[in-house]
C-alpha cells in the first residue's frame, strides 16, 4: 500500500496537479493531505475542490494554520500572508469554507499519525525544527510513523538506540528503508511553496508494506503559478517565492 503525503499546498493548483499525477504514476493508492490548502497562492478554491474530491474517496485531510485563519482571526501572520488569507476569504464558497472548518487537526491509522504541525499540542502550530521538537511530537503521537508539514523543507527524524532523535536530510528519489522497530517523524515538504531555492514541488510517498519512504521533488511550471498570483493582485513577494523557491 503506497500513501502519498501532501502538505502546504498553499493555493497552488499547478503544483498540486503535478504531484498528484506523479504520485499516480508511482503507484499511490491512498492520499493524505496534511493541511495548509490555502494562503500565499492564487487558487484556494481550485485546491480545496481537489481535496474535497479526494476526501470523498477516503483520503485523509487535515486542517493547517492557514486553513484555520480563514474562519478565525490570524493575528500573527505577516502582511503578505494576511493579504492571501483575505483573498481566500473572498474567493472561497461557503461550502468550501465549511469543509475547511470541519477538518480535524490530527488523524491516526494504525501505526501512522498524520498532523499538520506537531502532534504535541497541534493547535499551537509549533514547528518541528529540531530533534527535540521531533521527539516531543513522536512521544505525543504514540505511533511509529508521524507525518507532518508546516515546516516547508523535507526532513526525516529517527530514533537511535538510546532513544534520541537524529536528523537526516533525504536525497529526493531515493527510497529509504524505515523499519518499524524505531520511531520516525517525516516532514514531507511543501507542494505549493518550497523554500530551499528549488521551485520544484515537494511531496513524499510512504510504502507501508515495504516500510519505505521516498521524498520526491516534482518540477512543474512555477511561472504560471507565479503569474496567477500577480494577476489576482497579491503581493509581488509571494509570486517571487513560488518562482524561485525562496
Amino acid at each position: 500500500m503506497r500513501i502519498a503525503l501532501l502538505s502546504d499546498i498553499h493555493a497552488n493548483t499547478e503544483a498540486l496537479t503535478a504531484c498528484l499525477r506523479h504520485a499516480g504514476e508511482h503507484g499511490a493508492q491512498r492520499f493524505a493531505f496534511l493541511g495548509d490548502f490555502v494562503g500565499y497562492g492564487a487558487d484556494p478554491g481550485g485546491v480545496v475542490d481537489i481535496v474535497i474530491r479526494y476526501a470523498a474517496e477516503g483520503a485523509v485531510a487535515l486542517k493547517g494554520n492557514h486553513d484555520q485563519a480563514v474562519e478565525k482571526s490570524a493575528g500573527y501572520f505577516n502582511e503578505a500572508a494576511l493579504a492571501a488569507i483575505e483573498w481566500a476569504r473572498q474567493t472561497l464558497s461557503d461550502e468550501q469554507k465549511r469543509f475547511l472548518a470541519s477538518l480535524p487537526l490530527v488523524a491516526r491509522d494504525g501505526t501512522v499519525c498524520y498532523v499538520h504541525a506537531s502532534a504535541a499540542s497541534p493547535e499551537r502550530w509549533d514547528y518541528i525544527d529540531s530533534p527535540s521538537a521531533a521527539k516531543r511530537c513522536a512521544e505525543a503521537a504514540k505511533s511509529l510513523y508521524t507525518f507532518c508539514g508546516h515546516v516547508h523543507d523535507q526532513l526525516l527524524y529517527f530514533e537511535d538506540a538510546n532513544g534520541r532523535m537524529c536528523e537526516f536530510r533525504p536525497t529526493p528519489g531515493t527510497p529509504i528503508p524505515v523499519r518499524s522497530r524505531r520511531r520516525w517523524v517525516a516532514i514531507v515538504g511543501s507542494v505549493g511553496q518550497p523554500r530551499d531555492r528549488n521551485p520544484a514541488a515537494a511531496y513524499t510517498l510512504f510504502d507501508r508494506g515495504r516500510e519505505q519512504l521516498t521524498f520526491y521533488r516534482v518540477p512543474y511550471d512555477a511561472m504560471v503559478a507565479a503569474d496567477r498570483i500577480r494577476k489576482c493582485g497579491l503581493p509581488e513577494s509571494l509570486a517571487c517565492r513560488v518562482e524561485l523557491g525562496i
Binding site: F158, D160, A161, N162, C166, I176
Partner: protein, 474 residues
C-alpha cells in the same frame, strides 16, 4: 513466539542445517529452501542473538545489514535471498561463500610480496565495488573477508556500514562509532562515519599484517590507546620483514596516513598500484627503515592536534578520484587528432584534482622473424612506443604519481582497451573519433564506436573540429 534457532527448525520455509558460527552478536546457520524458492546456490541464515541482557546494538547493526545487503550487487558481496521481519523473526538469508577466510591467510603471514599484492588487490577491488555503490563498510577486518576459489574477495558483515543516502542509525551512538580496535580509522575515532577513506586505512592495516605478520598499531584495549594512530607513525614494514620491497612499503604506509587527504583517495588506485609495482611512485615513505624518533613523532602529535578540526569539516561522502584512461595512437604520432586529444585530457584532468591518468597505446604485435635493428625487436618496439607515449603526455606536466604509461601489444585494440578499463576500474575512457581514413568505414566498425558501445564506464570521444565547409561551384 519466535521459532527456536536450532538445526532442523524451519523459519519462513528455510530449513536450518548446521550451526556454522555462534558469536556474541548472533548465529549463522546453513539453510536450504523449498524447491520453488531455491535460488540455485548454497545459503546461510544470519540471525541476531535476542533476549534479555543482549545489547541493543546487536539488533541495530542487524537493521543496518538488512537495509544495505539487499541493495548491494556484484561478486564482492554475498547475494541476498530474503529477510525476516525485524520485530518478529529477524534474519537474513544470503549466499554462502565457499572459499578461504582472510583470517586463515593472515595466520600464515608474513607472505611474499607477490601474494600480498594478489590478496590485497582483490580486497581493494571489493572495497571499490562497495564504494561505487555508495556504501562504506567501516568494519574491515580479517573475520569479515572471504576469498572465493577464483581469487575474488567478498566483504561480509555490513552491520557497521554506512550508506550515503540512508540515515545513519549509528551516527549518534558514539560508543559504537568505532569498528574493531586494530583496524579502526582516525576518522571513526573522531565520530566521523562518512568518509570512504576510512576503509582504505583499514585496508592498509590488513596489507601491513599480510606483509609482516604484525598489526601496525597492535590491538589497543583503551580508547586512548586507539587514538595513538591519529598521529603515531607505524614502524615501517621492512623493519619487521626485510623482504618487504620499497613499492609495497610505500603503498602500505600511504594507506595508513593519519590524515585521510594524504592517503590514496580511492580503493581503485590501491588496486592499480598493487597490480603495477613498477608504476608506484616512491616517496620518503618507501625508504624508511626504522620508526620515527621522538622529535618527529612529537611534531606529528602536535600537527594532529591542529588538524583535528579540519578532519571534522569534510562532508562529501563521494570522493572524486576518477581513473581516466586515454588511448593514444603512438603508431601514428603525426595524426591530426593528437592535439585535440591532449587538450581534452588537459581539461578533464583540471576538473578532477584527485585523478589518476592511464595513457595506453595499443600497438600491433611484432611481426614474426624479427629484423636485426633494435627498433624491430619486440622489446625495442615496446620501448620506442613507451618513449612516444611519455613524449605525448609531457606537455601536460603531470606529477608522475598521478600518471601511468602502458604499451600493450595486441591485435584487437577494442578488446584490449575494454579489458584494461574493467581491470583498472576506469571511470572515463578518452579516445579519438575515427580519422579521415577510417571514416570511409561504417561508424560501427571504428574502435571508438565499439568501445563506446561496450565500455563499463563513460567514454569521451574527441573529434578534431571540422573547418568551414567550402562551397564548390557546380
Amino acid at each position: 513466539m519466535r521459532e527456536r534457532l536450532q538445526p532442523g527448525a524451519t523459519i519462513d520455509g528455510f530449513r536450518l542445517g548446521e550451526c556454522l558460527h555462534k558469536g556474541g552478536t548472533g548465529y549463522i546457520f546453513s539453510v536450504t529452501a523449498p524447491p520453488e524458492r531455491d535460488p540455485g546456490f548454497p545459503m546461510v541464515m544470519k540471525a541476531p542473538a535476542l533476549g534479555p541482557g543482549e545489547p541493543t546494538i546487536g539488533i541495530d547493526s542487524f537493521e543496518i545489514e538488512q537495509m544495505i545487503v539487499p541493495i548491494l550487487t556484484g561478486p564482492s558481496v554475498p547475494r541476498f535471498v530474503a529477510a525476516g521481519d525485524l520485530t518478529a523473526t529477524p534474519y537474513i538469508v544470503m549466499e554462502r561463500i565457499d572459499g578461504e577466510g582472510l583470517e586463515k591467510i593472515i595466520a600464515q603471514a608474513p607472505l611474499p610480496p607477490g601474494e600480498v599484492a594478489r590478496v590485497g588487490s582483490a580486497l581493494a577491488d571489493a572495497v571499490h565495488s562497495v564504494h561505487t555503490q555508495q556504501v562504506i563498510h567501516l568494519d574491515l577486518k580479517p573475520e569479515n573477508v572471504m576469498l572465493r576459489p577464483n581469487g575474488d574477495a567478498v566483504l561480509l558483515d555490513f552491520g557497521f556500514a554506512r550508506h550515503a543516502r540512508y540515515p545513519d542509525l549509528l551516527a549518534e551512538s558514539k560508543d559504537f562509532a568505532a569498528g574493531s580496535a586494530a583496524y579502526v580509522s582516525p576518522e571513526q575515532l573522531q565520530n566521523d562515519r562518512s568518509d570512504p577513506r576510512s576503509d582504505l586505512f583499514a585496508l592498509g592495516v590488513l596489507l601491513f599484517e599480510l606483509a609482516t605478520g604484525t598489526q601496525p598499531f597492535g590491538e589497543p584495549q583503551t580508547y586512548a590507546g586507539m587514538r595513538d594512530r591519529l598521529w603515531r607513525e607505524p614502524l615501517p614494514p621492512c623493519a619487521l620483514n626485510e623482504r618487504v620491497p620499497p613499492w609495497l612499503q610505500e603503498i602500505i604506509l600511504r594507506c595508513l596516513e593519519p590524515v585521510a587527504a594524504a592517503r590514496y583517495q580511492s580503493a581503485a588506485q590501491i588496486a592499480f598500484d598493487l597490480r603495477h609495482p613498477e608504476q608506484v611512485t616512491l616517496s620518503e615513505r618507501a625508504g624508511r627503515t626504522e620508526g620515527a624518533g621522538f622529535f618527529p613523532q612529537f611534531a606529528r602529535w602536535w600537527q594532529s592536534r591542529r588538524d583535528r578540526h579540519a578532519l571534522g569539516r569534510r562532508q562529501n561522502i563521494a570522493i572524486r578520484a576518477p581513473v581516466i584512461m586515454v588511448a593514444v595512437d603512438t603508431e601514428h604520432p603525426d595524426d591530426e587528432r593528437h592535439p585535440s586529444l591532449q587538450l581534452a585530457t588537459r581539461q578533464l584532468v583540471a576538473l578532477n584534482p584527485e585523478f589518476r591518468l592511464m595513457c595506453v597505446s595499443v600497438v600491433r604485435a611484432a611481426p614474426l622473424g624479427e629484423g636485426p635493428a633494435d627498433a624491430d625487436t619486440a622489446s625495442g618496439k615496446h620501448l620506442e612506443h613507451k618513449t612516444r607515449l611519455r613524449h605525448w603526455v609531457e606537455p601536460l606536466k603531470l606529477p608522475s604519481s598521478r600518471l601511468s604509461l602502458l604499451v600493450v601489444e595486441a591485435a584487437n585494440a577494442t578488446a584490449t582497451l575494454l579489458d584494461l578499463a574493467r581491470a583498472n576500474h576506469v571511470d572515463l575512457i578518452v579516445l579519438g573519433a575515427p580519422g579521415p581514413t577510417e571514416r570511409a568505414l561504417a561508424w560501427w566498425r571504428s574502435v571508438a564506436s565499439s568501445v563506446t558501445a561496450n565500455a563499463p564506464c563513460s567514454v569521451y570521444v574527441v573529434r578534431v573540429p571540422e573547418g568551414p565547409v567550402e562551397s564548390r561551384p557546380d
